[in-house]
């Protein structure tokens, strides 16, 4: 496989799969009941 093709396959994988992993981490750090303006607002969070 050509180095340039390997490089761009790597870039595609890192960027897109990296985006997925970053989204997953972001999601895990932000549970539903704590997300958004309601999540940080005082009062009941039903």
């Amino acid at each position: 496989m050509d180095p340039i093709a390997i490089l761009f396959m790597g870039i595609a994988i890192v960027v897109v799969w990296g985006g997925m992993v970053a989204s997953l981490i972001h999601l895990l750090k932000n549970p539903d009941h704590l997300s958004g303006e309601e999540g940080i607002a005082p009062g009941p969070t039903t």
């Binding site: 340039i4 396959m9 595609a12 997925m20 989204s23 539903d32 997300s35 958004g36 303006e37 999540g39």
Partner: protein, 547 residues
């Protein structure tokens, strides 16, 4: 009008058990046949490795914003597309019905492709296609008639698997959102990923695989100055993400009041693209092998859609070591990906009918799936089915989905000027905030891109026709079908919502219904109140004044 006053009898809408059930269902909808048989070809044809640039730009500037837009409408107004748009504004209900009818048409032919793939999974064991997969597919398997006119000459090897597909779909949809749709996706997506990863690993070890990957990933930077390449990227993202035709509106309506919408949307968008990259690697590794085995360039074997699945891949299976394994993994993946998408497509129709008529789920599912299945079997399990499929697919996607999405975005952003409400709603419950940039993307960039795609496709089809098919055929199943959907959508929107309908009988827990005033223009719970600031509701201006 009494419907907007507090009512202790109001029922809750069906819900996903949690956000992961929703995320898996949304990924299951987005990851479909297009990821496997369309993306690799589009990427190859539009710059190879360089395509990643317009592709990512399209994902971030159109795909994910439109995904958020659908989520906001579905979650904010808690309904199938007709109900959600009705609650948004009475006269926009027809947009929702247009989306529902597009789903109905797509669902009707989608089942046929799943049936083909299911049969080819079985055929892989004995390589039933022999030495000429193309002749086998069109001749022996589909028994395509010379006359394109629809007939009633059924093909048993298409009819029976199609019937099985419809029965399975009936059961999954009948069981409901939690136990049917969510469970099918929670099982189907991991199975699909495992099968496709194994397929990719096997394909990567085939001789010639590096040449295939060279063809896919070697960048051609010159094409980035070509507007068509950018439109291709936006088109791929748009068609791949299941946005703009009601699916994500429907699924978001099944979410709990407090759900991180944008965080989930990012996960869905990037997961869908991740699977596309995986599919590109697997497909082009296999095509590289096919090219080498036949002593030709990769460019000569590259194809997409039905040609890739039912002609190129059988050729690869026949020539590759462990060909049967490749066949089972490839066609099995098509079946699983197709099922999770088909379920989401038909749930839009089920949800809309259920909302409007107030029927229970099983009655609605039997009526909708029974009708769709009957039409599907009559049209697509016959010797003329493939031609009808070809035309309806082309028009339902390009004329229908793009057109409906364009109208929805323009109406909400410019005519109703409700984009701020959508943004406020997203930010009220979501971790990833959206603001001015998002509004520019949805109100300006998206309409421009969608309008260009829609107009250019309509002009092309109007001037050049479609394929080699006779004009009466394209006129009936292409133009006629597309225009009929709009007319029927308007007529359906004129039918009254009964007291049993979801408009009057379902609680929208995004709003405090007890506080709602009696707005004749805005029946049910919804548009009369805007979710505005943290934990507070305020009554919107009367529609006559404010909107």
């Amino acid at each position: 009008m009494s419907s907007t006053t507090a009512s202790p009898q109001k029922a809750s809408r069906e819900q996903f058990a949690g956000r992961w059930a929703f995320i898996f269902a949304a990924i299951g909808s987005a990851v479909g046949l297009g990821n496997i048989w369309r993306f690799p070809y589009v990427a190859y044809e539009n710059g190879g490795g360089a395509f990643i640039v317009p592709y990512l730009v399209a994902l971030l500037t159109a795909g994910i914003p439109l995904l958020f837009f659908d989520y906001a409408i579905g979650h904010r107004f808690k309904g199938s597309p007709p109900l959600a748009f009705r609650r948004l504004s009475k006269w926009t209900e027809s947009i929702g019905w247009w989306q529902v009818l597009i789903c109905f048409v797509i669902g009707v032919y989608y089942a046929a492709i799943i049936a083909y793939a299911a049969m080819y999974t079985w055929f892989s064991f004995g390589e039933r296609w022999g030495d000429d997969p193309e002749a086998f597919f069109f001749g022996e398997y589909l028994q395509v008639a010379e006359d394109v006119a629809p007939n009633l000459e059924f093909v048993p090897t298409v009819f029976w698997p199609m019937l099985a597909v419809w029965l399975i779909v009936l059961v999954i949809l009948g069981v409901g959102v939690k136990k049917g749709i969510a469970m099918a996706s929670l099982i189907g997506i991991p199975v699909l990923v495992v099968m496709f990863v194994i397929l990719v690993v096997v394909a990567l070890f085939l001789p010639g695989a590096p040449e295939g990957l060279n063809a896919l990933f070697t960048p051609n930077w010159e094409v980035l100055t070509d507007p068509q390449v950018w439109i291709a990227a936006y088109g791929q993202i748009f068609f791949s993400l299941s946005v703009g035709f009601g699916i994500m509106i429907t699924y978001a309506s099944y979410l709990k009041r407090r759900t991180n919408l944008t965080g989930s949307g990012l996960m869905v968008g990037f997961s869908n693209s991740s699977f596309e990259i995986l599919a590109g690697i697997g497909v082009f590794a296999a095509l590289g092998f096919m090219a080498q085995a036949n002593g030709v360039e990769v460019a000569e074997v590259v194809t997409n859609g039905i040609g890739l699945a039912f002609i190129a891949f059988p050729t690869i299976i026949s020539e590759a070591p462990a060909g049967a394994l490749i066949g089972v993994l490839f066609f099995g993946s098509l079946v699983v990906a197709g099922f999770t998408s088909l379920i989401s497509i038909l749930e839009v129709v089920v949800s809309a009918v259920k909302d409007k008529l107030g029927w229970n789920r099983w009655t609605t599912v039997i009526a909708v799936v029974g009708t769709a299945g009957l039409i599907s079997l009559l049209l697509f399990s016959t010797t003329s089915g493939i031609n009808v499929l070809d035309v309806t697919d082309a028009f339902a996607n390009n004329f229908g989905i793009v057109g409906a999405a364009l109208v929805a975005v323009v109406v909400v952003s410019w005519l109703l000027r409700r984009l701020d409400n959508m943004v406020n709603h997203l930010n009220a419950v979501s971790s990833f905030r959206v603001g001015r940039v998002y509004k520019v993307l949805v109100a300006v960039i998206l309409p421009i891109v969608l309008a260009y795609m829609w107009v250019s496709d309509v002009v092309l089809k109007a001037t050049d026709g479609y394929g080699d098919l006779p004009s009466w055929f394209v006129g009936t199943f292409g133009w006629g079908m597309s225009i009929a959907l709009i007319v029927i959508a308007v007529l359906l929107s004129l039918l009254p919502w009964t007291q049993r309908s979801a408009l009057h009988s379902e609680l929208n827990d995004n709003l405090e219904t007890e506080d709602l005033p009696d707005f004749p223009e805005h029946e049910g719970t919804g548009p009369g109140v805007q979710w505005d600031t943290v934990g507070q509701h305020h009554h919107a201006e009367h529609p006559r004044k404010g909107h």
